[in-house]
């Protein structure tokens, strides 16, 4: 497994693989890898010849007062884990490599803005977050020039935004989604779960049970989505969370209506200081 820090080295290595006709897969991460990430790498292996995992905690996608400083950096153990899933290349750029000469974590440089789908849900709660995501993923695509890139469905809105800008800007990259990977308790795996105590982890599993109950209610015919959303928010708050939102959407994240058969229910809630998100897809 090669560990690479600079764009120039990366380009050279990828270019050699491409000339040899190899299909390149990219798994972009912020590190602190868990089983969810490793399954993305394994999925990339099944669909490409050479798998590159990038590790970069992107300051541009963190808002003021968010957990950029505190976000867990665990490079040595990440590298061990990636070796175990036979990742070919780990790309670990420094901030200066990603945002050279920036005074504002990239915010004073070129930005990729995805209107519409960035302006709802987490886009409301975390202004600028998705511009940070779309910009860094665009940069990674241009640096790596992968044939395929794999993203987890836990970040459902992020996935839609990436699909959107790839389509709009005609990036020659196939976007592949990987289903959410969950703990035995149902809790969606996330690096931010590391902020939770063991008691909180058990408590956090309530969110997925709530999504399952809500999804059953809809499958069984309840259609007053606005009422269902409010009811579920109350239940989440009663369990000691501070609910940010529960939204029943069509698969493109517009509000769900009677005519939509492919739905996704998304929620965000704080448990203590930790912000958790989860979602579930339903076909009616």
């Amino acid at each position: 497994m090669q560990i690479i820090h600079t764009i120039s080295e990366l380009r050279q290595i990828v270019s050699n693989y491409k000339q040899a006709g190899q299909v390149i897969g990219l798994v972009p991460t912020m590190g602190n890898l868990h089983q969810g990430h490793l399954q993305l790498v394994e999925m990339a292996h099944s669909k490409t010849d050479i798998v590159i995992c990038s590790i970069f905690v992107n300051p541009m996608q963190f808002g003021e007062g968010e957990d950029f400083g505190q976000y867990p950096r665990t490079l040595d153990s990440d590298i061990d884990k990636l070796k175990q899933v036979a990742c070919d290349i780990v790309y670990v750029p420094a901030v200066d490599e990603m945002y050279p000469e920036s005074q504002l974590d990239g915010r004073d440089q070129t930005q990729v803005i995805v209107p519409g789908v960035s302006d709802v849900l987490d886009g409301v709660s975390r202004p600028g977050h998705f511009t940070g995501v779309a910009t860094i993923v665009s940069k990674l695509f241009n640096m790596v020039q992968p044939d395929k890139a794999i993203f987890g469905e836990k970040d459902y809105q992020q996935l839609q935004i990436i699909r959107q800008f790839v389509r709009d800007l005609c990036f020659p990259v196939e976007i592949i989604a990987h289903p959410i990977v969950r703990e035995a308790s149902g809790l969606a795996m996330s690096s931010r779960n590391g902020y939770l105590s063991n008691v909180q982890k058990q408590q956090a599993a309530f969110l997925y049970r709530t999504l399952q109950i809500l999804s059953d209610q809809i499958i069984n015919g309840l259609r007053d989505y606005s009422m269902l959303e409010k009811q579920t928010e109350l239940q989440i708050n009663k369990q000691g969370f501070i609910c940010d939102y529960v939204k029943i959407c069509s698969s493109d994240l517009s509000p769900a209506g009677e005519k939509n058969h492919n739905l996704v229910i998304l929620l965000a809630a704080y448990l203590g200081k930790t912000r958790l998100i989860d979602n579930i897809q339903i076909t009616l």
Copy 2:
């Protein structure tokens, strides 16, 4: 010479050339080709193996009340001219190919925003223009995946913006600048010169003479840039133009100061309804 209308055909052909080890050059244009464009194609020939000229009048970079509807479309004669300079591929996408499903000429889709250098000069006079330019050029780069792309220095600010977003977003494309091509009168060649009568064309040549005089004044030691700008604006207005701006800048388009040795003087002025721009670079 192949004439291509769709992304899929374009990708197939370019991919074949790339696999054969050919270096790809792109000359993006809005058509209505003149000698300036043809020299870009010739420069591309001298630096690459396969030259692609794109022709697309991009609605997203025209503001309300600007000349999008009126902009000259002269495809047949453009194709004849490109044959004469041995262009290999002409890419002529329809609006639906460039902005599929857009209700707002692409403005409701992903945008590439270049802060700073887009916010001065023409960026003030033509809000949104450079976002339209950066977005369409990003799309063309992703569609064509050229090794090199050639742009004229007449659109000096556009060139700086393209260099900036290519650097910021790490596009693997080398940007090459071509000097301004001028009529015998000194008038910078531009498709918009076609809006001018013969009398106006002679009159328009005054702009370049003005730039030359101003540049001589600076070379000869005058340093009160603000006064020189105002004086020149007055002179331009006296000749029957409506001057939009005259600006003496450092080469990165920040205001020129005592310490700057590489300067560029840029101007924009209306002659009748026609907006003309020109610039001249000086080294002190």
